[in-house]
Chain length 359, copies 2
């Protein structure tokens, strides 16, 4: 939904340079800054604009406000051969995410599986980044996170769950990973805001007004419906609950309904977000190589399927992201007018060399 036709485009190196400088200016140490930059640049390269460069101003704000700590003393407790808990010490969720998945992968290397529950964390951007971190090392990766409430229960009146994402990535022989990264609502909350800003009607069965009834008018919408809409939303809500249980209950955090809002006015009180990461070693089940070859065969069959008329054709999860990444690596990453302004403001305020648009 970002203005991808924007003529203001930057290289990922320039974007990364700017992010590092901005995060350092508000007290992020090198590890934290590198983790945020890695996650945001990756999301922007893949075209996940809701979870890419758009978020930098938010992180700058909450680091400055003290809600999130730029130099946290994160501690990992391995409890059993395949499991552990990472206390994120109110640091940035991106550092918590990459750190936790690295521990999960290390344990999976020995035990076949590894999982880390993370507590006392904060927003971590796109869940897919951490699943991908496992896939890039030859492991199946899964990542889950809760958030403050945006999504109704099935037949519920008010928001109860966050958009509670499920990310799943798996290595494919000779190709980019399989990547599923989905909210358990049909649309993200910021799409309601975007549609409202341009006066566009929402799709049916994705959002509701204050009395809980379905609405397509973004101006009156107060919550999202779970995936499946009015008839089958018990499935989306059940998945959202699964994500909640893994992310907050298993990390000993309060569940999302009780979280302070990410975009609330209190930017000094830590929120206590929870995450859950799982790494699976494919050759811990069958012979080495059989998995990534089998996955390549499956994807070949999948991409050969006939598409219905008028559609964009059949794509595997991740295909859209990898195509976008190739295009943006060649042509640059676009910033819409709002992001250009936000980045210019940060450049001015913290005396950082502005982004240098490609010509």
């Amino acid at each position: 939904m970002a203005d991808t036709s924007s003529r203001f485009r930057v290289t990922s190196d320039d974007l990364a340079r700017f992010m590092r400088a901005a995060l350092a200016a508000v007290g992020a140490n090198e590890a934290s800054s590198e983790a945020v930059t890695r996650a945001l640049v990756k999301a922007s390269r893949m075209g996940v604009d809701s979870h890419g460069l758009r978020l930098l101003p938010h992180y700058v704000k909450v680091l400055e406000g003290g809600r999130v700590k730029g130099a946290p003393d994160m501690v990992f407790h391995q409890r059993l051969p395949a499991t552990g808990f990472l206390d994120a010490a109110d640091g940035l969720g991106h550092l918590a995410g990459y750190t936790a998945m690295e521990h999960a992968v290390e344990m999976a290397g020995q035990a076949g599986l590894g999982a880390v529950a993370v507590g006392n964390s904060s927003h971590f951007g796109a869940a897919g980044c951490y699943a991908l971190a496992a896939a890039e090392r030859g492991y199946i990766g899964m990542a889950f996170c809760n958030s403050d409430p945006f999504v109704q229960l099935h037949d519920g009146q008010d928001a109860f769950h966050g958009t509670n994402p499920i990310a799943f990535a798996a290595p494919v022989a000779g190709a980019a990973p399989y990547l599923l990264d989905m909210a358990t609502s049909s649309i993200p909350w910021n799409r309601v805001q975007q549609f409202g800003a341009i006066g566009r009607e929402l799709p049916n069965q994705v959002a509701a007004r204050a009395d809980g009834q379905v609405s397509t008018d973004p101006r009156e919408v107060t919550s999202l419906l779970p995936l499946g809409g009015s008839d089958f939303g018990f499935k989306g809500a059940g998945l959202g609950g699964m994500v909640e249980i893994l992310s907050s209950t298993l990390s000993g955090m309060q569940h999302g309904f009780n979280l302070l809002p990410m975009n609330g006015s209190d930017i000094s009180t830590p929120r206590g977000v929870g995450h859950f990461f799982l790494a699976i070693k494919p050759d811990a089940f069958i012979e080495e190589g059989d998995f990534s070859r089998g996955l390549a065969d499956y994807l070949t069959d999948l991409r050969r399927q006939s598409a219905i008329k008028g559609s964009h054709g059949i794509m595997a999860p991740g295909d859209r992201e990898w195509r976008c990444q190739t295009r943006r690596d060649a042509e640059g990453i676009p910033l819409d007018v709002a992001n250009q302004a936000a980045y210019a403001h940060i450049a001015h305020r913290y005396e950082i060399t502005p982004l240098s648009p490609l010509t």
Copy 2:
């Protein structure tokens, strides 16, 4: 969708007695017969009529035909501390499922996590049964299975994935487990057949005709849409793909698109179905008791939420099943006319004492 108003009702003990006798009559050994009976009686008690007693005639048929072996030599290979592979030797999926989850729980007891990929298996009934088997022992359980194709890809024309279920169960302090057991389509295939039989229109956005376009006419429907329908079916299809990868790719089996049909005429050739089971020990992450108490708190908050007008109220995943189980344990399990006839036929053919309806 079964005729739950049926006056023909039986106790679960009588149903189990009949199932054991029927399965023994077609060569199932005691372990196989106990596993099938446990899964089907549980599903029928919980009201999951699509995966309960209705399936017995099918299993009798394929055991007699030789497609499924009643006395398989299943072999478990533990490969790493948290992982293993179960060769189900073309036996019944229910025995494979309970056996695999038991190994997963044992490994999770030591390592914190345990997962078993199962190959050379067959239909296992309701995925939720195996997730529950873990929850009943204090573990979080997950179960996945592929099947022959019924569900389109997003924008696809033809069926490609099975209804590929995701089951998730978790122990709750002092109460029945949390239980999510969902197909990654909106409806199961047998609902299309049921609606067709009574001339009823399908809900919108759940099924399609041969050219891939959405249809609500069960007589022309040839495939199901993934959860999310025409607009957001990429989510349901992506979840179906995740289930496929865990169930078939990770077990070294062919993926569902290439499987012989469960209800095809060939009842002598093994199909090579794959499953995947994961057990998670809650206190492998945080202090013992914090998890099940936290989950109870979450469910208290969930059940307190306001429901929209005209709905049946807010329910947690599993609530419907536990209510039905309580009712059916008191009043008996109903058999509709078709199942009464099928069970009478089996009684006659294998000289088994017929079911004894409650009066």
